[in-house]
Structures are given as structure tokens and as C-alpha cells.
Symmetry: C2
Amino acid sequence: MSDKPVSIRDVAKKAGVSPGTVSNVLTGRKPVNKDLADHVRKVAADLGYQTDRLASQLRTGKAQIIAVLVPDLDNPFFTSIVAAIEGCVSQENYEIIVANSNDDEETERSRLAAILAWRPAGIVVIPSTDRFPNRDLIERAGVPYVIADRVTHSPQADTVSVANEEAGEMAARHLLELGHRRILLAASVLGLGNMRERCAGAARVIEAAGAPAPEVLETGLTFDVASERLSKWLDGHERPTAIIGFTNFTTLGVLTALVERGIRIPHEMSVIGFDDYKWMCARSVPITAIRQPIQAFGQAIWSRLRNRIDGDTGPPMRVYLSCELIVRASAAAIGPKGPRTSNANDGNEQDNVREMARPDAGTGVKPGA
Amino acid sequence: MSDKPVSIRDVAKKAGVSPGTVSNVLTGRKPVNKDLADHVRKVAADLGYQTDRLASQLRTGKAQIIAVLVPDLDNPFFTSIVAAIEGCVSQENYEIIVANSNDDEETERSRLAAILAWRPAGIVVIPSTDRFPNRDLIERAGVPYVIADRVTHSPQADTVSVANEEAGEMAARHLLELGHRRILLAASVLGLGNMRERCAGAARVIEAAGAPAPEVLETGLTFDVASERLSKWLDGHERPTAIIGFTNFTTLGVLTALVERGIRIPHEMSVIGFDDYKWMCARSVPITAIRQPIQAFGQAIWSRLRNRIDGDTGPPMRVYLSCELIVRASAAAIGPKGPRTSNANDGNEQDNVREMARPDAGTGVKPGA
DNA sequence: GATTTACTGAAAAACGTTTTACAGGACCGT
DNA sequence: ACGGTCCTGTAAAACGTTTTTCAGTAAATC
């Protein structure tokens, strides 16, 4: 109800000191007599004073704001990353601004501009495209940022991503061990670095095993077209014995396409999905999947960004985290008999985060097909 | 790279005018000669000037920030609402700050305090508890806010929610039409108004049909305990023929509990879920569910909040939106023969948003059991 | 005992805007 | 010619902080 919020001046007057002293007491930037400090603190508390962060951070130059720009706020993978980051930063008195680029380069640009006008302390962005041309906006503004997930290395900026090739390898190896040889890789869009790497990892292992090079199908970025394309593809091609979905949406697409075609899992088709969600277990044949370490992801992003905010001017770093294969029932041994699930879960639980300086920057991985 | 961002003073100097004039040109708050205005705009564009929103909004008093406080950022329902709101507000040059209360009253309070320090233009909050005692913080700050989802009416504030009773009725009626009489209602926590209302709606319809009053099971707020409690309950009670999950997490819990017990859907148990997600269709027996109108939800929240920000001082409004029953295969007719699905989808597609002033405020709905 | 040093806190400048107050014309009607 | 009203733009105040500068006192050093 009280229209004007209580200001530092009010506190100062009531406490009989100068505003500067109140500031020094509250921020602790300059020492002030213990007794007086206590008094000021008490008055501030009594008045319910809350420092106006707008004003405070106008003066100090940077806002305690971390902006997170994602390509799709309706994709639970991205929101889970936002959640993980929020958990980290809120403990250090930062606030999070979210923006949605809708996988569109133009809106990405405009959202980025709007966000930069807040002079945020840092930005984490999951680019809408691999090249991320809108980077120039951030760089011109001189705001620290890290690129996450989709772009796995960049000569200009820190990147945090998953060990994509390794993830692809894990999935493929699991299928090979189960006897599969004709494997379909379902990626969202090969224009994305992480997709190329996952496919490359899988393809390498598969070919190394002497199996035919896997086919790669691009299912697009949304769920709806994913299942559609999958269905169409299944109609027009010799049927593989296993499919790896390299994205949560593609996994969902694979699953519904199989339902539509009446192809049963795992008897007629083995499936490995990406990401680990509750619904994967809420089925009679729970889904074997590659789990991305979301919490660690968020922490790694924040820790990198934090360093930059604190003034780290070292060369761009590339951080990547290992995924984990969660063996369940949707990938089964091939052969005359029915499903036989394996539980060769050798996931390396600890030490799943590595950092490396980047001498090797810029060497993109070729698509697997 | 340029360390100091270009300020309005720089533009003014280069354009040969005063800072005030630049401001007037850019904000359009006072008229300025057309030619001069164009010139200023050009200079501003050349210099890549972007007004510092911190400074701007310090002066004007309120930040173009909408804070969204949700109980669980890992729950896709809540994040989908955030996404819907973000879509609305970003078009009007507002930015969204998200905060996670983690379903805990204390962290809710501290997050709220942190958020209020930004002097946001408005707040939308999905309270962690029904009573929402932390409301006092917002009210003391005098910031407009709307309460969403969980609390469906409040004498002090606008509420936007779903037509919960109606939703419960729809689900129950569908099951009754399919011949079910012993129905279990799975709610998250009956301390939440929306849960009580959904249960009440279902219970009323069921009892009106002469069927025994339905049992209500509280499954808790997280997925893990949900399935656990469900499993335990199923062991200790006579088995119903149908279950309604009144939350996406409880639905997931129901589904996995049934999987664990080897109870098949819909042959041995019919299930109606809540919310509409992709995974519900990615199964051989897709899930019949109550869909909440997420987009409309976000729009209604924003429109209400917008009005308040613009100075609407009318009495608190209660807005509620109708849900839709999506008939699929997980709820089947009971009887000697196997599953028979109905497609009696009479959902009222249009006119699913209503507003009403609140003379009836404060009359809570009783829990259904 | 004089001079430095250390400490404490007040006063004022600064951050980048917006807004208010005002000044200088031009234009109008008398 | 004169006072009034527009019109357009400048100068300066203001927003609520933090930071810098400085003054006054007490302690320490010679």
C-alpha cells in the first residue's frame, strides 16, 4: 500500500547518518563502527528497507542478471537446463531472465538486443543455428557469455556441451552388442553441431564393427514433423532393426511413428532414446536412453560464466560432460527369440566433466552419412 | 570490445542536440521537429545506441519486468505456462524473470523478496501453498500480481485458473459413461485448492450417478513418491476399475505403478490423465486426458496483469478457463469384452474463457472425500 | 609537542536516463 | 506595437544507489 518504497535516504535520516554510511554498512564495502553498523542495520530492518537493485546496479555498472536464451521454451530439455542454471545463480543473488528465440534467427536477434539493454552480467545462449551469427551483438556489448549444448566449440567463446560423439558411440555400441547391424540414426537437424557429432560417433563405431554405414534421417526440430517424416521414411525404406533417437523430440517421434505403423518394441524394433524423462519408465517396455547430466550441465555453464564475470580473460574453454547409457527394455537382443535385455551399464559415474583449453578449435565433425 | 556502451549523451553530442531531445525523439513522449528527429534517429542507429533500461526505468520508477514465481521449474506444466507468458510479454517489450520456490514456503519468501527488489511491473505467482502467506510481501511493495493455477479465488488478488470442478466432472462423466463405478481419484495434495475442486467435481458427478463415493489418494508433489504411494495403495485396497490422475506427475505415477503391478491398460484398468503431452500419444495405448489450455492460460494471466499494471483498480477478478477432454484409448468401456474406446468428444472449443467479478469470494470448495 | 598515520563518517559527484522548468522565437489577434 | 499562446528545444533536476573526496579526530611516531 505504501506507495513510495523506503529508500536509503529514509534509513539514513532515521538512523541519523549519511546515505553513504548506510550503503557502507549494508554492502560492507567500507568498514564502519560496529555499534553504529548494528544500529543502522536495525533501522533498515525496522523500515523494511530493500535496496533498489535498479539503482544499485545502475551505479555499479552491471546488473546481477543472467540472461538465458533458448531456442524453444516448450522443449523440456531446454527448460530443464534453465531450471538447473536458476538453481545455481539464485544462490549467488543473481536473477535469471529467460528469452525464447523460437529457433528463428531473426527473433533470436531481437530478443538478444532486448536482453542486452539490461546490461546483464552474463548470457548463456543455446543458439538457434550452428553459426550463431548473432554473436556479434553480444560481443559488441562486451558481455561475458557461454554457448551451450548445440555448438560444441567456438574460437571466440566458451562452450559447454555434452560429449556428443561418446554418447553416439555408447548408444551404437550397445546396439551392436545386442546383435544389431542395420541401424537408423534419427537426428533433428544436421546443421547442428551436436547432432553431427552424435551421428559421427555412432557411425564410427558401427562401421568399425563392420556393419553397414548407418542411415541418417533428419526429423526436424518439432515433434509433429518428426513422427511424420519417420513414418514416411519407414514406408519407403528397408526396415532397420534398431533406431537411435538423438533428441528427446525425435525419440518421441520415433515412438509414435512406430505406434502408427504397428511396429512393436522391442520385438520388431529396438529403440534407444535421448534424455531421461519420467514417461520413459511409465510404459510396459521402458525406454533405454542416453541420459544427459542436466544438473552438471547447469553447474558447468554457471561455473564457466562465473569465471568470466569475475574477469577471467583466458582463451575460450571447451567443457563437455559425459552422458550415461540407461539400459532398460526398449533395446533388445536381435535373434530368433523374443526380447532379451542386457544390463551392461558401465557408465562412468564420476569424473564426467572435463575441461580443455582449445587448440583444436574450429574443426567441425562431419555428418555421419 | 568497446568497453563503455554508447550513452544518450554521446548521441546528443554527435547529433548536436541535448540529451533531453534525444530522449524525446526516442521515446516519443514530447513532439520534436520531424527533420531533427530523423537526424537524431539516424545518429543513434549509426552509433548503435541502445537505451540502458536500468537507467531508464530507475527514472520512470518501474521496470518492464514481469517476475514469474513457480513451485517447480522441473515440472513441464509450470514451464509451459512460463513459456506461454513469455510469448505474450516479450511482444510488449517486457522481460521475464523466473524464480523457483521449490514448493517450499521459505524459499518462496526469499525468492519473492529478491524479485521485488527489482521493482518489477508485475508478478505472476503459482503459490507453493494454498494460503499463500507470502502475499504480504507483494502487497507491501504494492506491485500488481495475479495468482495462477493452484489458488482459484482470493479476496485480495486476481486469480486465473482452470475450471477445475468442470474438469473433474468431465473426466468422471466419461468414465461413468463407459460403465465404471469404482473410481480412484489420484490428486497430488489436497491442501491445494485446484486439487480439491477437481476431486469435488468428479465426486459430485459420480455420486449423482449413484456410484459409490470415490476414494481419493494423495500422491504428493513429486513423481517418485507418487508411483510409490500408488503401488502401496493398490496392494492394500480393493482394486478400482478406473483411475483419474489429476496432475501430470500423478498421471505418470499412476502409469508406472500400474506397470510395476503388471496391470494392463485399459483391459484391467482405465486411466484418465491430466495435461496433454507428446508422450501420451507415443504409446500403443495412448492416454485419454484432460487438456488444460496452456496458451489461453498464459494469455489470460497476462491480460489480467496488464490491466492492473495499466491502473485497473477494480475488485479482484476470477478468471477460469475450460479444459478439454481428449478421448484416446486408455479409458475403455467396462464389461466382459475387451477394450472399447469411445470418442464422445463434445469439448466446447470456443468460448472457453470467462471472467467474473467476485461477489462469491472466499467460499472454498470442500475436498471430494 | 609536532607531525604523520589511521580511522570514521559526512558531503558531494556520479551512473544514464526521463522529466520539469524555462527560454527564445514565431505566430496570432487586438 | 504589444501581450498572449504555440512550438521547439536546452538546461538542470531528479530517480536511488555507490563511490570518491574530504574533513575531523584519535592514535602513533619522531
